[in-house]
Amino acid sequence: MEISWDLFLNAIAAGLLLGAFYAAVTAGISISFGMLDIVNIAHPAFVILGSYIAYFFNINFGVDPILVSIIALPVFYLLGASVYQVYYLSFEKRGQDSLRGLAFFFGLLFVTEVGLILVFGVDYRYVEAAYIGPSVHIGIVDFPLRMLVPCLAALALFGALQLFVTRTFMGRAIMAVSQDQLALQLMAVDPIKIKRIAFGVSIATCAVAGALLIIIQPVEPSVGREYIGRIFAICVLGGLGSMPGTLIAAVLLGVVESLTATFYGPSWAPAVSFGFLLLTLAFRPAGLFGR
């Protein structure tokens, strides 16, 4: 079989860039699902919300989408913290977090999506910025800035989160909450407060991930659904809550998807993540690097 090297290398490059972006989308779910064991299936809906906020301020006021997302961080943090508070009071505290908790997040996913449809309609929306369009060429490989800039921003976000969970007291407390709530209580730290902060941080990442998404591709409200399979596949494959594992799994998925899209057509790409997820669950439920 003849493989066009040109296509192949470009697909790999695009996959690497895409993978870094996937890592940014998954970072939040690695915290909420991986560390806190909260199955927040509404996560992608918050990402899309982030996309539309970036879109709104970009189109109406000409603000750079990434800048918008950074300004929106605290708002998303508060949104996340309050969602957790409702979740805690209604489900965790009553010990009903499995069935009803899942239905709650499903409802949120749904309400957010339909809400966006009602406000913005079902058409694809996109943002405008200087770096959408031009490309950097290295040899035969071409790095569109539309992908490169989100990739760098994603890596920055990811690095910041990694520093946060490993180097700060709060970050370490979050890691601890996933392992031993009792130990935390002995240290006189309230695990509920830690979880609220962690969930806030996880939703805050959606602001940035959403802005990056709408730079990479036009967005409509139901795009988020494609990301559900993707982010959970990455999160599980990366070993639930391990930041470095998440990054590697995200890049792997990005490359495989990009190769699939190049050689079999983009309409097949969403199936890749699901295949990944099922294979992972069937053969390596502890993740790539799990024991």
Binding site: R94, L99, R100, G107, E113
Partner: protein, 322 residues
Amino acid sequence: MIVVNTGKFSLITIAVGAVVMAFSHWVNVDYLYFASYTILQFIVLATAWNILGGYCGYVNFGSAAFFAMGAYSSVFMHKFFPVPIPVLIVIGALVSGIAGLGMGYLTLRLRGSFFAIATLALAVVLQTLVVNWDFVGGSRGAYIIRPETLELPGGIEINYIEYLFFLMLSLAVFAIITARTIERSQLGFGFATIRDDEMAAEASGVPTLRVKLIATTISGAFMGMAGAPFPYYIGYLQPSSAFGLEYAVNSIAMPMIGGTTSWIGPLVGAILLGSAQQYATVTISSAVNLLIVGLMLVGFVIIAPNGIVGLVQERLRKWRQP
């Protein structure tokens, strides 16, 4: 509480079904058939979802996928080897039942939430497959021309929509009888132990994995059955309508709002929400109508965790012991 045994319950349910059929035949308005078909379809879906979700406590977000599998196996058979709809219903049940078994086998040995996540992803992927599969119409969709009438043996002709309505009504009756029979059986006990505490269930001798797989299979099969006649009902099947979000949402929202612990919850939820949506789609937009369902779902799981049936039971208890 009046205790009715399974045999009597089945007879009563079938009698109610017959009365509904006779009444509809007497009224004989096409629009009414169309509208009530949708509600009956939701009764089947909600009851099917509840067999796994309500009885065992495992959430299936992929109702649309199982429904669409039933619908698309009908499209496939329509092009490949046309058979009568009752046969298609059996095929839909087999396809979706096996899919349910497979999904369960892959994910149910792991943490509970993995099953939910996998079903959520299943819808996206099956839709991708169907969009890329030209034989069943691909992204363009498939036309299935619905005959005006159906000729019964003996030369009697009946209105085709009435025939579809009759099939879906029978399925709804069958689903309700199955759900209620399970509730009162050893299997139903097994389901409830899984919902309550799987470790204790195992320790008491319940083969939890096998019991859960039975639930995913039955639940999937009923969703497939609900989907099988759908192409004939809608006439033109597109991936976006077969995988419509309203199926996933309603099959969760209806039991959750009605009440999940018994067969009556999904029935109440499906009739209430189903008729409200039939009304609302005509008067307000379908997006607003779905938004209302979503908000109601969130509201109910927070405020009334046992649904309408739970609220009524509580009221009755207070009324009896003032």
